[in-house]
């Protein structure tokens, strides 16, 4: 197959067939499509393909190198696993959205220029919001609206940044961008929104937990990791990122401790894991960049696994609130087991994936002398075990018995979770396979007795801290609540401001407005005559009058032509 054709077209166009097939045929098609994309991926030669000349600039539809291939592999894996997980979903919209969304993320990863990147970037935004709206609740609708405005805004910033960059003599090619130009700064913000930088992060915790059971799993795989890819491509070694990333690893874990919705807890822990990747990109050495992208690879898998297990709980019990759950290991033993594998992976237990990827970033921070950053990362490592590694399985499956007795997750969900779990353990136990795919040669050795011992001490004593706090009753109980975060600025303050200004305006119109109306009454009346309801311009006109006017214009044109 020609490498000139964007690989993303296969899932994106292939999605159109999904509504036409039903039942087993649809299931087979949904699984075969990602498999076909994977085969295509394996056959791709390295290099730049699909070059188009447009307005004096060269577009590169396909740039195949080690970095884009690494993300390509894991995105296609994610497409397959999420399709398997979602086989029970009747709603064709969700399948189509997932394929278009994952496909366009794939397109963006292989985009060799900023314009192609922009097009796929926006398509991920538009397709992914359908997975939120598919929940069909008022809450989901509103959260989706906030989400899509922010995502499209990220695209606008990317386009504006690219335009400034090219205008300032830069190239449209998507390589290292850097912060030297204003365009670069805009693009950093655009990527930062997708990576959920501090203060740009709230769309993630706001929207992901409102999506459907399967939608959240799909969402967790693509958008943020696309942001990480773009950051690794455009801004490696940007020191600002070290600070941004360190902040990202630390502050969300405090929120995760007090959050009740367990899928929202996972959204906060996503933010925390993204922080490790952003720090790695900021450090920018070979080891750090390898660590950042390897951790992105591992994170996609274990975060999907965790969201899958919580999705199964939501499907069977109708809730993922810590206050309502507990004791589910009795009804859902397999789901419990898979959730624990995901929890061990995100917590970086030896033999699980996080152990061999996150430690590369930690090691790079230490060897480059970022002592403070290293301490923050270590704190975040203990914290992530605490809230994602222990809290999630504990409150859902153990804790006090909620009395809920339900069925185990359906078989296709269990198989999807099992495959993902095998990948998590596989990466952790045989890291050489993943290391061989990384963009730079790897000399890092994760399994030294010292490293294993250090990590086990950290984790076991974090677990002990949790047990002591729970047994002494100091551990904060789960509570039904909303915890204000930065989104309060637009959801709370912004709304209050809008209401207050509306009140002031209407009060003004009621009193002082009379004077103003007298003053400019004449022009207001004229405006109303032309633009108000029942006015000339608001009327619907018959097509005939339109045709008449076109004819008059054409006749006038003819007349002037002869004159």
């Amino acid at each position: 197959m020609s490498a000139d054709i964007p690989i993303a077209l296969l899932p994106v166009l292939g999605a159109a067939l999904v509504p036409l097939v039903r039942g087993r045929l649809r299931a087979a098609y949904l699984l075969a499509l990602p498999a076909a994309v994977f085969v295509w991926l394996l056959l791709l030669p390295h290099g730049e393909f699909g070059k188009l000349e447009l307005l004096g600039q060269t577009l590169t539809l396909m740039r195949v190198d080690r970095l884009s291939l690494l993300f390509g592999y894991v995105f296609v894996l994610a497409l397959f696993l999420t399709a398997l997980y979602a086989l029970h979903v009747e709603d064709a919209t969700q399948h189509v959205a997932a394929l278009v969304y994952g496909g366009s993320a794939l397109g963006a990863v292989f985009a060799g220029d900023l314009l192609t990147l922009f097009v796929w970037w926006e398509l991920t935004a538009v397709s992914s919001v359908l997975l939120i709206w598919a929940r069909r609740t008022e809450r989901a609708y509103r959260a989706g609206m906030r989400y899509v405005v922010i995502q499209l805004g990220s695209g606008m910033l990317l386009l504006a940044g690219a335009a400034l960059h090219v205008n300032a003599g830069g190239s449209l090619a998507f390589g290292r961008i850097g912060l030297e130009s204003a365009g670069g700064a805009l693009m950093l913000v655009a990527f930062g929104i997708k990576c959920a930088f501090p203060l740009l992060h709230n769309w993630l915790q706001d929207a992901y937990p409102e999506a459907t059971v399967t939608g959240t799993v799909v969402l967790s795989a693509f958008t943020t990791k696309l942001g990480i890819y773009a950051l690794a491509r455009g801004f490696p070694g940007t020191e600002l990122l070290i600070w941004a990333g360190a902040l990202m690893t630390a502050f969300p874990i405090f929120y995760a401790v007090i959050e009740n919705d367990l899928r929202r807890v996972l959204a906060y822990s996503m933010n925390n894991q993204l922080g490790f990747m952003v720090v790695g990109i900021g450090i920018g050495t070979d080891l750090a960049l390898n660590g950042a992208v390897a951790h992105a690879f591992a994170d996609i898998l274990f975060k999907m696994l965790l969201f899958m297990s919580m999705g199964a709980v939501l499907l069977r019990t109708g809730t993922v609130n810590g206050t309502d759950l507990g004791g589910l290991y009795k009804s859902m033993p397999w789901t419990t087991g898979f959730c624990i594998v995901g929890a061990a992976s995100i917590s970086a237990f030896p033999l699980f994936s996080g152990f061999v990827t996150k430690s590369m970033v930690m090691s790079a921070a230490a060897s480059e002398g970022h002592v403070f950053t290293w301490l923050v990362l270590l704190f975040a490592s203990a914290g992530v075990f605490h809230h994602a590694g222990i809290k999630i399985p504990y409150f859902a499956f153990f804790a006090h018995d909620s009395g809920i007795r339900c069925k185990e997750a359906p078989p296709h969900m269990l198989i999807a979770m099992a495959l993902t779990a095998v990948l998590c353990v596989g990466i952790g136990s045989f890291p050489a396979v993943l290391y061989a795919l990384l963009p730079y040669p790897v000399t890092y050795v994760p399994y030294t007795s010292s490293h294993v011992l250090d990590q086990l001490q950290l984790l076991v004593f974090s677990a002990l801290a949790f047990s002591v706090l729970v047994r002494t009753g100091i551990y904060p109980p789960e509570m039904r609540s909303v915890n204000l975060d930065f989104d309060w600025i637009y959801r709370g303050l912004g709304r209050s401001l809008a209401r207050a200004s509306a009140r002031v305006l209407s009060a003004w119109l009621a009193t002082g407005g009379d004077a103003a109306r007298a003053l400019c009454g004449r022009s207001l009346m004229a405006l109303k005559r032309h633009h108000g309801p029942d006015s000339t311009l608001a009327r619907t006109w018959p097509t005939g009058s339109m045709a008449l006017w076109v004819m008059i214009l054409l006749l006038a044109y003819l007349l002037f032509y002869y004159l």
Binding site: R139, I253, F254, Y255, V257, I258, Y329, K330, S331, S363, A366, S367, V371, W374, L378, F379, A382, G383, H386, F398, D401, R405, C406, K407, T448, S449, S450, L453, D454, Q455, L456, Q457, L458, L459, V460, F461, S462, A463, L464, A465, F466, S467, V468, L469, R471, I474, Y475, P476, M479, R480, S481, V482, N483, L484, D485, R491, G492
Partner: protein
């Protein structure tokens, strides 16, 4: 689905057993430091039981800060944004 089966973890004595086992594992890991030759990129990370103490203190501090400071500041009723 009625399920009256007693599980091993339903007995509080077993939970206590489990809790003590985790303490025993922790103690063993700290003692193992005497046997393992450690190489740390940062000197202070080589202090005896550094990771054990850090992990314990970090988690207690995390929970207390989240409970006593953050929750007091940001907790609102569940329908806060719907009102």
């Amino acid at each position: 689905m009625p399920n009256d089966k007693r599980y091993w973890l339903d007995d509080p004595r077993n939970v206590t057993k489990l809790y003590r086992t985790v303490w025993a594992i922790g103690a063993a890991l700290v003692l193992a430091e005497l046997l393992v030759r450690r190489h740390e990129e940062l000197a202070f990370a080589g202090w005896f039981a550094f990771y054990a103490v850090f992990g314990f203190v970090a988690c207690v501090a995390l929970v207390l800060a989240a409970k006593e400071i953050l929750r007091r500041l940001v907790k609102r009723p569940e329908d806060y944004y719907e009102r």
